[in-house]
Amino acid sequence: MRGARQVKTFGRIHLTASGFAALPLLIVAAVVAALFVFPWLVASPYLLHLMILLFLSVAMGESWNVIGGYCGQYSVGHAAYFGVGAYAALMLLQYKHIAPWWGVWVAIAAALIISLLIGTICFRLRGPYFVLASIAVAEIIRLVVLNWKQLTNGAEGILLVDIPPLMLGGRLVTDWLSKTPFYYLGLILALATLLVNYLVQHSKLGYYLQAIREDQDAAHSLGINLSFYKNVALAISALLTALSGVFYGLYIGFIDPASVLGVDLSVQMVLICIIGGIGTNFGPVVGALVLVPLSEALRANLLSKFLFSIGVVQETSRVGGFLKENLAHAHVLIYGILVVVVILFMPDGVLGFGKKLIARRARPLSATPTPLVGGLDGST
């Protein structure tokens, strides 16, 4: 059949906006292999820590992408799933001594219940209600956790004492006492979320979600059950986000309502996606690669030190002192500025910006005009 081989995704830049720039499989495999070998070559715990933060950010971004990027339903309350996941796993571990590889199932179940609740209420409605409800639910959960002190220890949070060693077939896999097991767990989590994104995108589900995002009514008239598919997307997203929350709790070892249930966290998840390029497979990776170093640089005062070293600002001046004291805490301010800048100037993110440049170079594929009645080309 003529044209049946026209759509190739291997080894060519795919010019459509399903967004998946299909890099040759070899590069991807090489990068993954390098990541797996990384801890053997690098001993610095700080670098390992940075990589773990990177993996966590990638996972959070990819999780949000399913409902926000593909389906176009912007949840600004995803901290709900993250925090519920973290609290479920850690409470079970700390208070009931249930190992996290069992506790994670409870975390997932809790997140799914919440997602179904929000979805049932909102997805039959048109308009901004989902965004509002997502924020409201996250706040409800945060306030409940904050105030139910007997259950959750309230504002003091939960400090993890230790994680039981992981045994498989009688042999010790890890005792969780260094950063390395968390590195690998984080890497697997990030890769898993990337894989889920890829599978979703290249399936009927992905096509339907994107149709819903582009034009709900058109999608509806094409046989797509809007509520059902939105709920599926949200459920997948909630599940993955809960896993990220569990991972965070185990790695950092301390959680409290502010750190795992706050709106800052929800905004951060959205930011990771929109910086890189919303609705793309690798967008959150790019976003994480931008945000994690930026946060760390701010936190460690690297930015101030840099400005001092190149002489733009004097360390002893008022501005210098001000920067030194406050830039470290300014990362939320930077997030806010970034959101504004990205929305105004780069709404499709870094990847979208790049794609526009590429598309401008390549010409559209039609070299032969469509033969029309009368012989005139109607597509002026």
Binding site: V76, E139, V267, H329, I343
Partner: protein, 288 residues
């Protein structure tokens, strides 16, 4: 019984202020179809402005409203021209994100300048009460309800009787039709955002004698404002007025009968229930 009456009364008082916040938000949404997530932060700016005027010049917070209203109006108009205007035709999701970002910037800039320390405004009458039908009512809240009523009345008069007000309502009902009738819809957007900001800032000024002032105080107000707007029907000024009172009373009763920390939970749960059963709002229709 006294407790019930008293907490209901307090609820109505604070509800009036909430109504101001809600009306501002609903006007912005009605005219521009923009969901302003920075609304609470605008209220916070109003609080800080009042505090600055109070501590630097000793002007009573209720009197300095004369300065706060025009200042906030100009600030809102500025924000609209510089930022909001650029996303009027963007996806609603992007509009939401932009205003969320704006809110973050506002609250964090204030935090950088003034730190997170709680500030308070204490006036002669901050903790005094007046006697209304045997119930002690907080004086500052009573004054603020009075001022709120006056402002709301002026607003209703403006919207219903003046040409500009009717132009705003026309733009809210049908932007394209209004434009075809010769209404400068761009100007209406600036006005709407200016008015909305002024109302939010005024609400901030009114509660400044009774609330702690800190950079993050806006967040809870934003969400509550949205609950009010949805409750009353998006775009409906009357709805927002009623919604404000309902939310105020709900919150007050929850604070007294359950706990102060959980009072917002009841407001948010009420929100979810409204979405479940009456998403078009209690009054059922979006109109100004």
């Amino acid at each position: 019984m006294r407790v019930l009456l008293q907490s209901t009364a307090s609820g109505i008082l604070i509800g009036g202020v909430y109504a101001l916040v809600g009306i501002g938000l609903t006007i912005i949404y009605g005219v521009m179809r923009v969901i302003n997530f920075a609304h609470g932060e605008l209220l916070m700016i109003g609080m800080y402005l009042t505090w600055i005027i109070f501590t630097s010049f000793g002007v009573d917070p209720f009197l300095s409203i004369a300065i706060t209203i025009p200042a906030m109006f100009l600030f809102g108009a500025f924000l609209q021209r510089v930022l909001i205007n650029r996303v009027l035709n963007a996806l609603p999701q992007n509009q939401i994100l932009l205003t969320i970002g704006l809110g973050l910037v506002l609250s964090n800039v204030v935090m950088l300048i003034y730190t997170s320390d709680y500030k308070i405004i204490t006036t002669r009458y901050s903790s005094s009460t007046i006697n209304l039908a045997g119930l002690p009512i907080s004086t500052p809240l009573a004054i603020s309800l009075l001022i709120t009523t006056v402002i709301t009345a002026i607003l209703y008069f403006f919207l219903l009787k003046t040409d500009t007000g009717q132009a705003i309502r026309a733009t809210a009902q049908d932007r394209d039709a209004a434009q075809l009738m010769g209404i400068n819809v761009k100007r209406m957007s600036v006005l709407a955002f200016g008015i909305g900001t002024a109302l939010a800032g005024t609400a901030g000024a009114l509660v400044s004698p009774t609330y702690y002032i800190f950079p993050q105080v806006g967040g809870a107000f934003t969400l509550k404002a949205f609950v009010i707007v949805v409750l009353g029907g998006m775009g409906s000024v009357i709805g927002a007025t009623l919604g404000g009172i309902i939310i105020g009373v709900t919150e007050s009763l929850a604070a007294v009968y359950v706990s102060s920390g959980m009072k917002e939970v009841f407001v948010y749960v009420l929100f979810l229930l409204v979405l479940l059963f009456k998403p078009a709002g209690l009054l059922g229709r979006s109109r100004m």
